[in-house]
C-alpha cells in the first residue's frame, strides 16, 4: 500500500517567518503534486514535479522532488496571512494504476 506522510500536521507561525513542509513515502512516484486548500473550497494545484532532484519556484514557494522520487518538500519564504490553508501533497504512480494518493495534509496558519 502506498502512503504519503506529511509533516508537520499543523503549523502556526508569525507573518514573515520561513517554513518547510515535508512529504515522505517509501514508494516511488512518477510525479508528485502540491495542492492548497482553503476552507470551504476544493484543493487547487500549486505545482507538479516529475524529475528526481527537480526544484520549482513559485514566487515565495520552493518545491523540491527528492532524487529517488520518494519525497518532496515545500518551503515558504516570508510567510503571509494569505498563505494560510491546508497544503496537500499527492503522488501518482502510473505503473500500478492511475489513482492519485494524497497525504493527510499540513494545516498552516500564518498570524499577522
Amino acid at each position: 500500500t502506498q502512503l504519503l506522510e506529511q509533516s508537520p500536521q499543523f503549523l502556526s507561525i508569525q507573518e514573515g517567518e520561513n517554513l518547510t513542509v515535508y512529504c515522505n513515502s517509501s514508494s516511488v512516484f512518477s510525479s508528485l503534486q502540491w495542492y492548497r486548500q482553503e476552507p470551504g473550497e476544493g484543493p487547487v494545484l500549486l505545482v507538479t514535479v516529475v524529475t528526481g532532484g527537480e526544484v520549482k519556484k513559485l514566487k515565495r514557494l520552493t518545491f523540491q522532488f527528492g532524487d529517488a522520487r520518494k519525497d518532496s518538500s515545500l518551503h515558504i519564504t516570508a510567510a503571509q496571512p494569505g498563505d494560510t490553508g491546508l497544503y496537500l501533497c499527492a503522488g501518482a504512480d502510473r505503473t500500478g494504476g492511475f489513482k492519485t494518493i494524497f497525504g493527510a495534509g499540513t494545516r498552516l496558519f500564518v498570524k499577522a
Binding site: S30, L45, F98, F102
Partner: protein, 114 residues
C-alpha cells in the same frame, strides 16, 4: 460553467436515509474522481472513472457506497442507509487524462448525518 460543479453544496440527512451527490466535471475531461474528506483530515480516495473503462472502486469503504458515471459526463455518488460516520465533505475532481495529471476539484458537498 468552466469548473467542476457539485450539488447539493450542503446536505443534512437522518441516519438510515439514502443520499445522492452529483458531480459535473469539466467538459472534455475523461477522468473523474471522488474523494471523502473528514473534518480536519486529508483526502480519502473513493472511486475513479476513466472514459468507458471499468471504474476503480478500491476506495469505497463499504457496499453502502456506489457511484455511476454516464460516459464522460455527470457522475453520481450514492450512499445508502447513511451512518453518522459518513458525515464529511465529498469532493469530486476531473482531469484531462488518466493518472497523475492535474486534478480540478469542485467545491464539495458537505454531508451531515444526524
Amino acid at each position: 460553467g468552466a469548473g467542476v460543479s457539485q450539488s447539493p453544496s450542503n446536505k443534512v440527512t437522518e441516519k438510515g436515509k439514502d443520499v445522492e451527490l452529483r458531480c459535473d466535471p469539466i467538459s472534455g475531461h475523461t477522468a473523474l474522481y471522488w474523494y471523502r474528506q473528514r473534518l480536519g483530515q486529508g483526502l480519502e480516495f473513493l472511486i475513479y472513472f476513466q472514459g468507458n473503462s471499468a471504474p476503480d472502486k478500491s476506495g469505497l469503504p463499504s457496499d453502502r457506497f456506489s457511484a455511476e458515471r454516464t460516459g464522460e459526463s455527470v457522475s453520481t455518488l450514492t450512499i445508502q442507509r447513511t451512518q453518522q460516520e459518513d458525515s464529511a465533505v465529498y469532493l469530486c475532481a476531473s482531469s484531462f487524462q488518466r493518472g497523475g495529471e492535474t486534478q480540478y476539484f469542485g467545491p464539495g458537498t458537505r454531508l451531515l448525518v444526524l
